[in-house]
């Protein structure tokens, strides 16, 4: 299958700082690829290179299996982290303008504008001036503007930052629809729960390197646990000591201890393993992206 985006051993240095180091991955048609990692990991630099805003020092970027020419870039849609709209124009006028820049005109443009407004749930706000839209609506319109020309590759940088649950879910639906229609989607996000729910594959980037990538099931293999027990107790030190005695890996998670369970266990059995310690709560949860990222990027707060 031809990749809509191919990134092959791309490196980029700013002065003394190496922002990206031999980073490679591909995104196929209809695939949502999430890029996660801490601040300064190199996500934005990678997006800039994928959009041809920055040139890599080494490595290549291909679009639809070919060279990343200006013509090929015309089939890329980008929604940057900051909303970029004309605040004194209506929703429809904004989309009409951006559609025209990509060569859409006449009835075709009108139809595409209506479709995109409907996709982001703003069909009843087409005549509303952007400055009168809520922050969530503006962000949805911002994403619609990136989708007008039916891009082969849609790049969304932190698309749901600062949004309420409803707007976030609406955007997730838009992203899934775009992928269902055949677009490859590259999403960067700090919200790991979002990446987990939305992306077919996830790449974890740390200090400019792709430290792991794959489906959620594949990524979970980086954490040697079937399940996590989140234990809150009056004496967390005692919980950590008991876990050591039991030979269980553990990490501090906020005001609790996350104990890695090598196999699934009942809540009673877990509680019994920590008998004699005054436990406030014990919760079992599956291994999530948060644990994988923490494990691979050293992002855990402390280790036992």
């Amino acid at each position: 299958m031809t990749a809509v985006l191919g990134v092959d051993r791309v490196s980029k240095t700013f002065g003394e700082r190496r922002a990206l180091s031999e980073l490679s991955f591909t995104i196929g048609r209809g695939e949502v690829y999430g890029l996660v990692g801490p601040n300064g990991a190199g996500k934005t630099t990678l997006i800039n290179i994928a959009c041809a805003v920055l040139a890599p020092d080494a490595g290549t970027v291909t679009l639809n299996g070919g060279a990343a020419t200006p013509d090929a870039h015309a089939r890329v849609g980008v929604a940057s982290q900051e909303v970029a709209l004309y605040r004194d124009l209506t929703s429809e006028q904004n989309l009409q303008f951006f559609a025209s820049l990509y060569g859409l005109n006449g009835e075709g443009r009108a139809r595409r504008v209506r479709t995109c407004l409907a996709e982001v749930g703003l069909e009843d706000r087409s005549d509303t001036t952007v400055s009168f839209l809520s922050g969530g609506m503006q962000r949805r319109l911002h994403i619609a503007a990136a989708m007008l020309h039916e891009p082969h590759l849609l790049i969304l940088d932190e698309p749901t930052v600062g949004l309420d649950r409803e707007s976030r879910h609406r955007i997730w639906r838009v992203v899934r629809d775009a992928a269902d229609h055949g677009a490859g989607v590259l999403v960067t996000t700090h919200q790991l729960e979002e990446a987990e729910a939305l992306c077919h594959r996830i790449g974890i980037i740390h200090e400019g390197r792709l430290v792991a990538e794959g489906s959620m099931d594949e990524l979970r293999r980086h954490v040697a646990a079937a399940e996590l027990a989140i234990i809150d107790a009056g004496d967390l030190g005692a919980v950590r000591d008991r876990a050591d005695q039991l030979g269980l890996t553990h990490r501090t998670a906020l005001a609790a201890v996350a104990v890695w369970l090598p196999e699934r266990q009942s809540l009673d059995r877990v509680a019994a393993s920590f008998s004699g310690i005054e436990l406030r709560s014990v919760t079992l949860k599956p291994v999530g992206l948060e644990e994988v990222v923490a494990e691979l990027t050293g992002g855990r707060q402390s280790e036992g």
Partner: protein
Amino acid sequence: MLALTVTQRILKELRHTRRSLIFWALFPSLMLLLFGLIYSGQDTQTNAFDYMAPSILIGAAFFFSCLGGPIAAIVAERERNTLKRLLLSPLSGASYFMGVLFAFLVVAAGQTVIVYGIAYAFGGVYRGSLVLGALVVLLSVASYVGLGFVFGSRFTKRTEEVNGPVSAIGVPLLVLGGTFFPASMLPDYLYRIAQVNPIFHMNEAMDAVSAQGLGVAAIVDHLVFLALFAGVTQALGVQSYRAMLQRERVL
């Protein structure tokens, strides 16, 4: 074609906000009325509105709309982050520039109708060739817009800085260009300096055509200066815009 898309968008924004359009109509109207009435009391030989209309059009109308307008437009693109969206689109720097120029030519046409409408109402007469007058207007607007692009993309980063270059550089040029009083009143050494001031040439050319009814031969030097100035400022403007896009190349 993409230039016209930019033109339409700017005109729609101006129509939506209205404030700028109202002030761009009101300011030259009031200036023409004031100066026309002031000079009417001093000169009984000619109608003051005959010779005040050209200089008010150049110095009060076009100066603020076609110089300040493009500066504000570029700063707003940067502040709204739309510049980055334009950067990623197929729109070229030259098309963007032409789009802005066309938009302000439309604004300038409207201002010309208003200024000469008021002059006519007070007995003023436009004596020269309409085509020649339109050529002077075109070159004047092109010069202002080119200069606005240079200021907007090189020296102005935020909205509150827009007035800086307009006041510090533009207003002295207005005075030295004979906008509010005839350039012939300038001392010799200032008159010589005024020869390199584009506003001086705009005023002299427009006055010759409009108030004196002179032909192309009388203003050819002014036209050549303005054509060169417009060419240079537009080249500089596009180049400054491209340089600004390079600086903005971070999402």
